[in-house]
C-alpha cells in the first residue's frame, strides 16, 4: 500500500527530507520556531511553573480543613493583615491565609479551566463532527442553535445559569461551559468541513472505511491543532470569567481557594485606610498577580501555538 500522502497543507509533520539536508522532522522545526520567540518561551515557562505549583499544592500548603480547598483562617477579625510570620502573603478579610489561597487557587484554576475545556470539547466533538461531516439539515440545526447561544452575552448567560442552579464551583463550571461550547463546536465543524473533502478522506471512503472510523482516525487528529490554539487562548479567559463570577458573588463559596474569590474579598479594601490608600495592597496584588501571570502565560502560549501552527502563516516565513 503506497503511503497516502498526507495532503493537509496545514501541518507538514512528515515531510520527506529533501536530499542533501540533514533529516529534520516536523517536530524539530516546530520546536525551533517556538524557541525563537522569547515571548513563547516565557509563556511556556509560566504555564509550566503553575502546573508544578498545582501538582505540589498539598506539600506547599498543608490542608487543615476536611475539604482541602477551604482556606484555613486564624480568627475571624475583619481587617486583613499584612505579610508576616505564619502568613507569608498576609491574610484577607476574615483572616483567610493568602498564601494557601493562592497555592490551592492554582489547582482550582486548572480544575475549572480544564473541566470547562473538556466539556466544551466533548460537546464540540459530538456536535461539530456530526454537523461538519454529514452536513445538510443537521448542520443547519446545529448552526442555528450555536447562533442562539452565541447571541447571548456570555457573562450574563453564566450569571443567569449560576443564579438558577445555585452558587458552587460545579455550577460555575457548567455555566462557563455552556457559554464556551458554541465556539469550540463551530471551530471543529469548520475544520471538519475543510478536511471532509480532502483526497485522503475520500480515498478512505472509497476503500470502504466506516464513517466513525474515518472521523476518528483521519479527521479528528488533523483538527487538533486549531482546537489546541483555541483551548490555550481560552484557558485564561475561563479563569477570568470564573473570577468575575466570584466577584459577583456567584462563583466559589466564601472561603474557597480561588483567585477570583480572593480578589472579591479584597475589593472593599483596595482604597486602604484614610491616611494611606495602599494599606491593604497585598489583598489585591497577591491574587491579582497570580491570575495575571496565569492568564498571561496561557495567552502567550496560545499566541505562540497560533504562530507556529497557523496554516496561513506556514511556508511564508
Amino acid at each position: 500500500m503506497t503511503a497516502v500522502r498526507s495532503s493537509t497543507p496545514a501541518i507538514s509533520l512528515s515531510r520527506t527530507p529533501s536530499p542533501g539536508r540533514t533529516v529534520e522532522t516536523g517536530w524539530h522545526r516546530t520546536l525551533r520556531r517556538f524557541r525563537r520567540n522569547p515571548l513563547s518561551v516565557l509563556g511556556a515557562l509560566i504555564v509550566a511553573f503553575f502546573v508544578v505549583v498545582a501538582l505540589l499544592a498539598p506539600f506547599l500548603a498543608h490542608p487543615t480543613e476536611r475539604n482541602p480547598f477551604m482556606i484555613p483562617h486564624s480568627g475571624y477579625a475583619s481587617d486583613p493583615h499584612p505579610p508576616g510570620p505564619g502568613h507569608p502573603f498576609g491574610t484577607t478579610e476574615e483572616q483567610f491565609d493568602l498564601y494557601y489561597g493562592v497555592i490551592w487557587g492554582t489547582r482550582t484554576a486548572f480544575v475549572v479551566a480544564l473541566s470547562v475545556v473538556a466539556t466544551a470539547v466533548a460537546i464540540a466533538l459530538v456536535l461539530g463532527s456530526v454537523s461538519g461531516y454529514y452536513g445538510g439539515p443537521l448542520d443547519e440545526l446545529v448552526m442555528r442553535v450555536t447562533d442562539i447561544f452565541l447571541a447571548f452575552p456570555g457573562l450574563i448567560l453564566a450569571v443567569v445559569i449560576v443564579a438558577v442552579l445555585g452558587q458552587s464551583v460545579r455550577n460555575a463550571v457548567i455555566a462557563i461551559a455552556v457559554v464556551e461550547w458554541p465556539t469550540y463546536t463551530r471551530l471543529l465543524r469548520g475544520e471538519f468541513l475543510r478536511v471532509r473533502d480532502m483526497e485522503y478522506v475520500q480515498a478512505a471512503r472509497a476503500l470502504g472505511s466506516g464513517d466513525l472510523h474515518i472521523i476518528a482516525r483521519h479527521v479528528i487528529p488533523n483538527t487538533i491543532y486549531p482546537m489546541l490554539i483555541l483551548a490555550s487562548l481560552n484557558m485564561g479567559g475561563i479563569v477570568i470569567t470564573f473570577a468575575a463570577l466570584s466577584f459577583l458573588g456567584l462563583g466559589a463559596p466564601i472561603g474557597y481557594a480561588g483567585w477570583g474569590q480572593l480578589i472579591s474579598l479584597s475589593h472593599n479594601w483596595i482604597v486602604g485606610t484614610a491616611g494611606d490608600p495602599f494599606t491593604f495592597w497585598y489583598t489585591l496584588i497577591v491574587p491579582g498577580t497570580a491570575i495575571f501571570l496565569f492568564v498571561l502565560g496561557w495567552n502567550l502560549l496560545g499566541d505562540a501555538f497560533r504562530d507556529v501552527f497557523d496554516p496561513r502563516l506556514q511556508g511564508s516565513r
Binding site: F152, I156, I263, I270, L284, F292, L300, L313
Partner: protein
Amino acid sequence: MTGFILRRLLLLPFVALGVSVLIFSLLQFLTPAMRASLYIHDPKQLNALPDIIRKYHLDQPAYVQYWDWLTQVAHGDLGWSETAREPVADAIRGYFPATLELGVYSFACILALGIWLGTQSAVHKDRLLDHLSRFTSISGASLPTFVWGLLLLMVFYGHFGWFPPDRLSLAAGLFVRAPGFHPYTGLITIDALLNGQWWIFWDALRHLVLPVATLTYFLTAVLVRITRSSMLETLRTDYVRTARAKGLAQRTVVDKHARRNALIPVITLAGLLFVGLLSGVVITETVFNYPGIGRWGVNASQQLDIPAVTGFALIFSGLLVLGNLCADVLYALVDPRIRLQ
C-alpha cells in the same frame, strides 16, 4: 445584495425566539419559592410566600409561563422589571444610551490604538516595539477588568481627584434631569453640545475617561493581534513584494497598499468587537457605578428577574445579528473579491 441582507434580517426573529426559549427553559430549574425571592427581600415577608407565588403565577410550568410572556410580547409589552422598578421597555430605553455612549467612545479608542499598534507591530516585526506592544496588549487581556478598573479609580479619583465614577456629577445630573434640558440622543456628551451646555459636556467626558480606559486596555489586545497578523500576511503578498521591489518607500507601501487590504479582516472583527464591547461593559459598569444596560442586566440576572433578563437578551441578540450583518456588508463592500452568495 438586498437579497442577502433580507435573508439575514430574517434571522432576527428566529434568534430572538431561540434566546427567549433558552431563558425560559432555564426556569425549569427554579422552584416557585426561588422565583418568589424577587418579591420577598426580608424575613418578615416570609409568611407571604405562598400568596406571592399565587399572585404572580410562579407555580405554573415553564411552557405556560413562556406562552403568557409570548402573547404579552405580541401585544408590544415586554413586561415589568421588578429590579428596575419600571417596564422592561422603559428600562432598556433608559439604560441603553448610557452603554452606547460608553461603547462608542471606547470603540473609537480601541480602533485607533489597536490599528496603530497592530500596524507598527507588524511593520517592525520581532523587534522591540513588536514585543513591547504585544506584551502590553496581551497583559491588558490578562488582568480582570474589575481589578484594573478599581486600581484606576483608586489612583485617578481617590488620589488625584481627576476622574470620578458615575456618569455625571451632582449638579450636572440635576440639570440634565430638569425639564429645561432636551435629551435628543440620550448620549449626554452630544446632548450637552446640542443644548449648548459646555460644562455638562466636559463633566460627562470626565466621567467617561476611566471606564473607557478600562475597556480600551482590555479589548485592544484582540484588535492588535488581528491587525498584526493580517498586516503580516498582507506584507508578504506578491503585490506588496512587487511594490517594494519597485523601490517604493516603506511608508507608501504600508499606508497606500498594505493597510487597506490588511484592514479587511479588521473591519469584520471590528463589527464583532463592538458588540462584544457592549456585553463586556457589564463588569466595568458595576465597578464605576455607571448606569448602563450591563449593570442592570447583571442585577436582574442575580435576582432572577426573568422579564428583565429576557428583554435584555432580546435586545442584545438583535444587536449581535445586526452587528454581524453590518460587518458582512462592510466586508463585501470593501473587498471586491467577495461575492455574497
